[in-house]
Assembly symmetry: C4
């Protein structure tokens, strides 16, 4: 199966020196007490560093605690840099880790602060640090959440073609309705261009309805009513797709056992004979 959950990647421990193997299990592992303690500290540090970056943008907080935030920012950057260097040191194939999803996120989480020493403004890129929070799923994976996350993920994967067809339809409707509203209402009512009208059409069809642009003419209101009713109907489609796939996924406890006669390996959960050739299936315990 080529499609696999992004939460799943195996890295081999560094061979050689015992301290490297030890630290590999602490940093990358989640099994023993030390590994779990590291995980908890890491998650807390990630959340705290994000909180600092977020609250530093609040004007009053920046005036009052700006220098504390600045110090904390550098403390977390140094800590994450040390962590990144450690990860490269203890893993068996550093290059493979560095190119992995979490490897790239880990370096992007510290780069902006370092770059801000030479180029002003780059600290805004700290937003990337938010992606580190995804590590929390990695750790949760080891608990009882693994099956649930995989079920949701594979449901989305199975539904991807239906979702693609659905989005193509939505975007075509947005284009057609956006262009029509531009013709009907015109720039004086806020529909200044077709791209702006398309933005309005998306906001309207999805029932967000900011109200920053609204139809003023009678014909515009009539078309808007039609657009809304169509949007209201198709809100059913992604929900329906996901639900039907999820229900199918929850029901489909299939029996994975090869038929001794014809080799068919995919059977219903309660099957006792192969549905293709009729041979009695071996029980799982055999």
């Amino acid at each position: 199966m080529s499609e696999h959950s992004p939460f799943d990647s195996t890295l081999r421990p560094a061979s050689g020196a015992a301290w490297r193997v030890r630290w590999f299990h602490i940093i990358f592992g989640h099994e023993d007490a030390a590994g779990r303690l590291f995980d908890v500290i890491l998650i807390v540090a990630i959340l705290a560093s994000i909180a600092v970056a977020v609250f530093d943008t609040v004007a009053q907080a920046h005036i009052l605690y700006g220098s504390i935030f600045y110090a904390l920012e550098w403390f977390f950057t140094l800590a994450f840099t040390v962590e990144y260097v450690m990860r490269i040191t203890v893993v068996d194939r550093p290059w493979r880790y560095m190119r992995s999803f979490f490897g790239i996120v880990d370096i992007l989480a510290v780069l902006p602060t370092w770059i801000s020493l030479v180029a002003a403004g780059s600290q805004y890129l700290l937003v990337v640090r938010a992606l580190r929070i995804l590590r929390i799923f990695r750790i949760l994976k080891l608990t009882r959440y693994v099956g649930e996350a995989d079920l949701l993920w594979f449901t989305l994967v199975r539904a991807r073609r239906k979702v693609l067809i659905f989005f193509s339809t939505i975007l075509t409707l947005v284009l057609i309705f956006g262009a029509l509203m531009y013709l009907i209402e015109g720039p004086e009512d806020g529909f200044t261009s077709i791209p702006t009208s398309m933005y309005w059409a998306i906001v309207t069809m999805t029932t967000v309805g900011f109200g920053d642009i609204t139809p003023k003419t009678t014909l515009g209101k009539l078309l808007t009513s039609l657009i809304i009713l169509i949007g209201y109907s198709i809100i059913a489609v992604p929900t329906g797709i996901f639900t039907a796939e999820l229900a199918a996924g929850m029901r489909a406890k299939r029996k994975r056992v090869s038929c001794t006669h014809c080799g068919q390996a995919d059977h219903e959960g309660d099957a006792r004979h192969c549905r293709i050739c009729g041979t009695a299936l071996p029980s799982k315990n055999d």
Copy 2:
């Protein structure tokens, strides 16, 4: 099973004096005429006391009927205080009741008014009284609503891990999109800080769309369209989770036992014979 419905708690009647047993059945019971009459009076009193607290905040009503509202407020507080004292008196283990969910709600419903005698402003805490309305579920439980409420409750309990994963994803997206919009639009367009941007992202992704803050730049409108479409897709997820779990819960009342003659394994919950071949079904305990 450690997870149980919050609507479910058993309290034993006070032993000893006959009047205590009698009043226990009136106050805590819902079986005989006296118990049901008490329930109806209690619900009406709760609703009336909430109505008084609610309409007292309407400026015109406060001017016209303020003194009547004040008198009613004390009448209900005294009545509920007497009721609370009675509950402690007649129950076998008062401490257990006092620490139960409804025990805490019952005392919180009268405390604010009493405290307002010594400290001004505490009457605003009367909001807590609204929680007493949950008693209505307790009473409905005795009727045919019990199975339905339990089904909804256990569906939510079973879906809790999927819901947790879903909310973690939402909050991560809110953080990332909120920070991006803060960078793109900036304070002059209402995105005054990342927390404000995150509030806007929640309002937008959930299709609420107040319109108090809206994107003004072209890039901001483009990103908003993307955020909305993502939000529109993931609205499918909680719906799908709940529906699939509910459908599974409704289906779970079937009897899963193989017929000894024909092997049919899927029977209705009350089946005693196989509906295909008529053979008596083995009981589950066999």
Copy 3:
């Protein structure tokens, strides 16, 4: 079964004079050509009379065509009055028809105009005429829509307890959150009273989000985010309830045949033996 679809009511033709039987079939029947022609004319007249009442409220249209609208209004009122008198005349038990749902709607559709002769302003009650449009379902019922409408109706009936529990929960949350927002934001930000706050809470939790009242304080925005996320989650509940019930309704093609031995009359569609006593079921053709 005491619960039955409101679209379903049988009226017996008037006995006696042949012209009464004939007109009964024209007015109440939908089988022959004359009956169907009457149906079409009636629906067109209802739609036209509603259109007149609706467009008469548009200021420009009223100035231009006010007198034409007035004449048409009286034409339709006279026609519907004649129709009502005819219905009473030809039906066997006039009193039963007059008290039925459509009997009451039919009289309410003409009364306002007649009353307007003696009391000004009553023409606004013509809104009731909109209810006559429900007749369209009555007529469609005779075609292939009957099964579909009944399926939707009975799904709602079966789900009514779950829906009641759901609405009680919503209203409790609206009360609690409305009161909290009133305390946090206060009258100066538009939350002028608890009833107004509750209106805002409904508008927000259901993701309508007009934006006429919005939180201004940081704490208010935080609580609003929480309210929205809760509302977003519970939007799943009515959808899930309805879908699961509908899916169950569509699947449950039950076999309605009494067991000759034990009398059990409700079996699964593919049952050949009674699931209670194992007796072979009679085939439907017997």
Copy 4:
């Protein structure tokens, strides 16, 4: 089956000259390398021509690149005209193609620009060109998307009666609530006529909530709360209909034939033996 997917239409190649057969496969076919290359070029050209029409409406872009857009517009119009002529030339029955859905779209995509030579303003009709994008589904059809698109399409077709009943109910409610709000709020609060009130009712019931018109009176806010809660409940209906139908569609691929030995009647679509007892299943034609 009279209902068939609109993505499905077979056109026969022109007989006779070899170059016509060759070009038929290039233009209408999607099997060989040349046909697929033509498809890719066509889709890119359609997307580019739509982008030109869309961005030409942005004021700044029009000032800067107006002449380039004008030249590109004519380039695409000429190319699509040549393509249309080619399609007519190489197909066996040109008239049948010209009256087909894509035939009409193809001519509508070039006509506005040609008409703009004689009549100003017609270039606004270029919006029609957006419909050409639907060709993308035609091409995707040849890949693994065919089954998915057909499943979604037939689900909508099967659900059409339920959807019609649902929309009739919505429009009746919109009429009644729109008229009531017009009576309660009146023109001074923005509810200037019943049609405007109906537009507001649609915007509100579907949870769009622009906020351009909002209730000001207490009674209006109360009715609005009721309207919203009703709208919130019935949002479940189209979702439920679609999901239930889709789930049924996904399930319908099963083989419904009773096993002659054990009577098991529910088998997978490709089963040839009963999975319970191994007996060969009778073919459906028996």
